[in-house]
Symmetry: C2
Subunit: 335 residues, 2 copies
């Protein structure tokens, strides 16, 4: 029996091994992905991003526990955590995070944690993460929490992998104009103010709400759980108004409300058809990333090293401009 | 007379206009870049990155003033500031920064400030920034300060544009393990602890020094200004040990020391030959970005919309895997 079959049957060791193969983009990893892909599309993918030091890891840990041990009326969910660190291109800094987590979550077969250190040859970290998330989806995890460090473009790209994006801030980080960027708020479905016992929490929350209104001026409020969804009655102009939720992640305060907001948002996406739309956008973005890498790989293989180095040298000598260099190496397509 | 000539003759309005053309990658913009490129390679490019809220803009403003009005013995320098915001893919949020700056710097013809909002069609924000920096270099600015928001992968990419990279932190942001990433420290040539009047400054400084040692274990100390450089005597194994400098940017305290460290690092790069090496790496990275974009553009033009949409639909239906989809659209090059 191959790795993919073992993964479909829920074997944990096979899962860990296969993810390594997928990360390293081995031939076996790719074949397994082809085999597993028809089984994907079921998991709820939740991206968690925000300023460094806002307490994303604690929040993610506590959310995982909340979905494992939900309040009455909710079934326990199988939860995978993928911790992605795009700000560390040189060192595999995410490993430490795993160790810290182990204390809370180790030993529960319904939880699986993976750090992304490797970025693969084709498509970089974003493509590697997409592939790993697909494996976890196929392996039957109901919820995949994708945690990123920082709040730059790479985090926005990775957040695009998710159905639901949570942006986490904390007092003292998010309260100046430059810290909370409208860009990151435009991708936020749920806002969390962590460390809500610290001074300045009202200020941070007010700033977030103000920026949110700025970022989504045209969108109508939508109150997730009070809404009784009936597909045919839905107005296309109905919008999700991102809730702003206070949390003290280290103490577990406010976590159930965030978990409920995630469930509500999942329902909202399904009932409005946005689930399918985001799925399509995500897969298209992944496809484009892979194609870009393949084209580059193929081009580089077709150009002689001598020509490449010669053009580069003339560029450094300023006897060719960058556009002229591109012209010599591939020919410019745009008039 | 065309825009490029006017720029070479120091006309400010022509410069502003040309930068817009270059950002928008118009044909005229490209021609002008070809014309200007032989005049580049002289400016000292300084990247400034660090956590949101660390006070990068204040530092950059005060550095610009310090280079305009230096202590005795130094000539005043012409300074350009490029403010880049990769975390804001949707809105041109950097404009506000310009206005705030105007108060200090407006009216000085030796200072030019530009926000990067547009990312151009080919190569995104990193390529646009590279092109704008080239225009400023050709226009005769001695120093180009490239300020980025945040500390993610995009910031690392943009910092690669620079000869000298400054990483700015502040007490209360940089003092937990996750906040200061080894990755960003590996690209730092100068570390600045801003807001040095706040509590926790010793802690932040200690953490930075510890992370620095972790990030560059093998590198030998190099004391910039005490060193008397003689090119032929230099040991290839000589290294720049990034100084950690305390600053209160809003009050101007410590700014002259940072300016001196920038000058020292410039000397170090020139004497060790690293200036040329970084120039080559920067131009190669720019070349690769442009080639990637051209290949993608050309491929997309050659694929029928029907085929593309059909493959995408089968991907969404899970009847094709991502790798199989790439195979149908371009053929996979890797066995």
């Amino acid at each position: 029996m191959d790795l993919a079959d073992s993964v479909l049957q829920g074997e944990r060791l096979a899962l860990a091994r296969l993810i390594t193969q997928v990360e390293n983009q081995t031939t076996a990893g790719r074949r397994a992905l082809d085999r597993l892909f028809p089984h994907t599309g079921k998991a709820h993918l939740v991206g968690v991003t925000g300023s460094p030091g806002a307490g994303k890891s604690s929040l993610v840990n506590k959310l995982a526990l909340a979905f494992r041990h939900p309040a009455t009326g909710e079934p326990p969910r199988r939860v995978a955590i993928v911790a992605v660190d795009p700000s560390s291109p040189f060192t595999g800094g995410a490993v430490l995070g795993d160790r810290v987590r182990m204390r809370d979550l180790a030993g529960d077969p319904g939880i699986f944690i993976r750090s992304m250190a490797s970025r693969g040859a084709l498509g970089g970290l974003s493509a590697s993460t997409a592939a790993v998330v697909q494996v976890l989806d196929a392996a039957g995890f109901d919820l995949v929490l994708i945690e990123t460090v920082g709040a730059g473009q790479s985090e926005v790209d990775i957040a695009r992998l998710a159905h639901t994006t949570i942006v986490v801030e904390a007092p003292g980080m998010g309260d100046d104009i430059q810290a909370i960027k409208a860009g990151i708020l435009e991708i936020a479905d749920i806002l969390v103010v962590n460390k809500a016992d610290k001074t300045g929490v009202e200020h941070t929350e007010r700033a977030l709400r103000a920026m949110l209104e700025l970022a989504r001026p045209e969108k109508m409020p939508y109150t997730g759980s009070q809404h009784s969804p009936q597909h045919e009655e839905l107005d296309e102009n109905e919008w999700w108004m991102p809730p702003v939720l206070r949390v003290i992640a280290t103490e577990g305060a406010g976590i159930r409300e965030v978990a409920q907001a995630i469930r509500d948002h999942g329902e909202f996406l399904r009932h409005t058809g946005l689930w399918v739309q985001r799925d399509r956008e995500r897969l298209e973005s992944e496809l484009q990333t892979l194609i870009r890498s393949v084209l580059m790989y193929r081009w580089r293989r077709g150009v002689s090293e001598d020509l490449y180095q010669d053009v580069l040298t003339r560029l450094v000598e300023r006897s060719l401009s960058p556009y002229q260099a591109v012209d010599e190496l591939v020919g410019m397509p745009v008039e």
